[in-house]
């Protein structure tokens, strides 16, 4: 592919993204809500991708980190009557600190051990949210009035979320393309070489985990405002699975694929929920189907197909 056509492609992709983001504004409010949710979960999926795609470690605790932020925002704003910006800040902070602790515990493992350890850590959060009834409201959860307080219509909230998500996406894009981002890819592809080059591998992984939790926390804080309600289901395993699945469907290591993944999974959830209660089963099946037919994800698959075509053209 020449650089000229790739620039043209990029501009077209940018325009297409703008049109896609603006499109829901012309639709009924139900779709605007779904679109808001898609954007928020895309941030969660990107935060998963920072670890899964760039450090090569697949986490299953990001739902818990995300949901911790949601809990803290709703608790501090509703129960403690803190102003919303402060509550959101505290939510993101809580998620970041939680991720730091998880990171310190998990970064010396990799592969399936990392997956299982992060899964267990996420379950602990879920257990606490379920049992610590005085603070979390137990199974009843916490309900807030954050949206009413903001006096934003569904459409206005969508625009606000879109602006925040655009900024966060830009920051994450810079992050994975920074020297630190290259370090993470180096660790993914060769830890022993990185150590002998002078890199403290566990330190870099801990920072990556913490940064990833910070981004998941932003998604969780946005979700608090959007949903105005949190219960243990927000921190449960299926939430972590959904976040990971979105990253995988979009293609790990692509970052922006998270938007495609989030769109596909949430659209599927909406469609399935209207006919059956068994969404979690469908979620699991989707996971298996993707792993069998497109383990490189939808964007990864498209790239492979395009690369294949490009090659057959240049060959005589």
């Amino acid at each position: 592919m020449t650089s000229k056509t790739s620039t043209t492609l990029r501009i077209l992709a940018g325009l297409a993204a703008l049109v896609l983001v603006a499109a829901p504004l012309a639709m009924p409010t139900y779709y605007v809500s779904v679109a808001t949710q898609i954007l928020i979960f895309a941030v969660l999926a990107m935060s998963v991708d920072v670890l899964a795609g760039f450090t090569g470690r697949t986490p299953l605790c990001h739902g818990a980190i995300f949901g911790t932020s949601t809990y803290v925002v709703l608790y501090t704003a509703t129960v403690m009557h803190m102003p919303l910006p402060l509550a959101m800040l505290l939510g993101v902070l809580a998620a970041t600190v939680l991720a730091l602790v998880f990171g310190l515990l998990a970064v010396r493992t990799s592969g399936v051990y990392f997956l299982l350890l992060t899964l267990a850590l996420g379950l602990i959060v879920w257990g606490i949210c379920l049992r610590w009834t005085e603070v979390t409201g137990g199974e009843n959860g916490l309900r807030g009035q954050l949206r009413a307080g903001l006096m934003l219509s569904t459409r206005e909230l969508y625009v606000a979320v879109a602006v925040v998500v655009a900024l966060v996406t830009f920051a994450m894009w810079r992050f994975v393309h920074s020297p630190f981002g290259l370090t993470l890819r180096g660790i993914r592809d060769g830890e022993s070489r990185m150590a002998s080059l002078g890199y403290n591998v566990p330190l870099h992984l801990t920072i990556a985990f913490t940064a990833s939790g910070f981004f998941a926390g932003i998604a969780g804080a946005l979700y608090a405002v959007f949903n105005d309600f949190v219960s243990p289901s927000t921190v449960q395993l299926s939430q972590s699975v959904a976040g990971l699945l979105m990253a995988i469907v979009g293609g790990v290591g692509t970052l922006f694929g998270a938007f495609v993944g989030s769109f596909i999974i949430i659209a599927l959830e909406q469609a399935v929920s209207s006919v059956t209660e068994r969404w979690l089963m469908v979620l699991g099946l989707t996971f298996i189907v993707i792993m069998i037919f497109a383990p490189e994800g939808v964007i990864g698959k498209a790239r492979l197909l395009m690369a294949g075509r490009g090659q057959s053209k240049t060959k005589p």
Binding site: A171, P179, L182, A195, S196, G198
Partner: protein
């Protein structure tokens, strides 16, 4: 007798044990700054394991590794790298999906705080770019910056192994069979690269090809079954009865490149 200069690297009774196997058994050895040393010996002699003990990839079970007066026996590999210890790997250990320049960026930032740039661009500083240019030039990889590593020839990959170890001005360079698996022409080429390295750099070279090794070094250490059996000048190695005995009955072991058994 008092030594004229403190050795830059001093190993005392270094032992590395894997279960019942002592892969390196009480090895003591001393290198002067700027020295070129070859470590030779049959497959499984413990040469790579000795390198792993020096670089910290596998810390020694017992014994001391002192580098420039610092006891680094218990230090991490990255800690030792910061002291100026660099290595190449017997089994090519590169970032295959990345381009040459990305591999070099990782190499040059390993010892620099610029690796902690979280939102900056991936460009190198002027000084780093110069360092990388110099290392690529020494390894004769200039002009290949944007080639993806896995698409390069094996010979070029071996050159990149050396280039990555050369940035950041190391003081001790450990080369683990840099020419293994190369054609005779490529070997000569790599030997020239090693010969042209700055004279103040201390180099330890593991090499199966005696002709290649003996032409490059000041002194030779011969290992067998984890122990050092001979240390001598290159000129008297071939005639040494112990060395002849080690290679007796299997004269080809001297020229067969490493088969790459269990490596870090």
């Amino acid at each position: 007798m008092r030594a004229v200069a403190e050795p830059i690297l001093k190993l005392t009774d270094v032992t590395v044990q894997f279960g019942a196997l002592k892969a390196v058994d009480k090895v003591s050895m001393s290198l002067n700054a700027g020295e070129r040393r070859a470590v030779i010996g049959p497959n499984g002699a413990g040469k790579t394991t000795l390198f792993n003990a020096i670089t910290g990839t596998i810390p020694p079970t017992s014994g001391r590794v002192v580098f420039d007066g610092v006891d680094m026996s218990r230090m991490s590999p990255q800690g030792r790298a910061h002291l100026g210890v660099a290595r190449t790997f017997q089994i090519t250990n590169l970032f295959g999906r990345m381009s040459v320049i990305e591999n070099m960026r990782l190499a040059v930032r390993g010892l620099s705080p610029t690796k902690f740039s979280f939102f900056g661009t991936d460009d190198l500083t002027e000084a780093q770019a110069d360092d990388v240019r110099r290392a690529l030039l020494s390894s004769r990889l200039d002009g290949r910056e944007h080639v993806v590593v896995k698409e390069m020839s094996y010979g070029e990959q071996r050159q990149l192994e050396v280039a990555m170890a050369l940035v950041g001005t190391p003081r001790l360079l450990l080369l683990d069979e840099p020419a293994a698996g190369l054609s005779p022409a490529e070997r000569t080429f790599l030997a020239d690269i090693i010969r042209a390295l700055p004279r103040e750099l201390t180099v330890v070279l593991i090499e199966h090809d005696m002709d290649l090794a003996l032409g490059l070094v000041d002194y030779v250490t011969v290992m067998q079954n984890g122990v050092v059996i001979v240390e001598s000048d290159p000129s008297s190695i071939r005639t040494n009865p112990l060395v002849q005995e080690v290679y007796l009955g299997k004269p080809h072991a001297v020229v067969v490149p490493g088969e790459g058994n269990a490596d870090a």
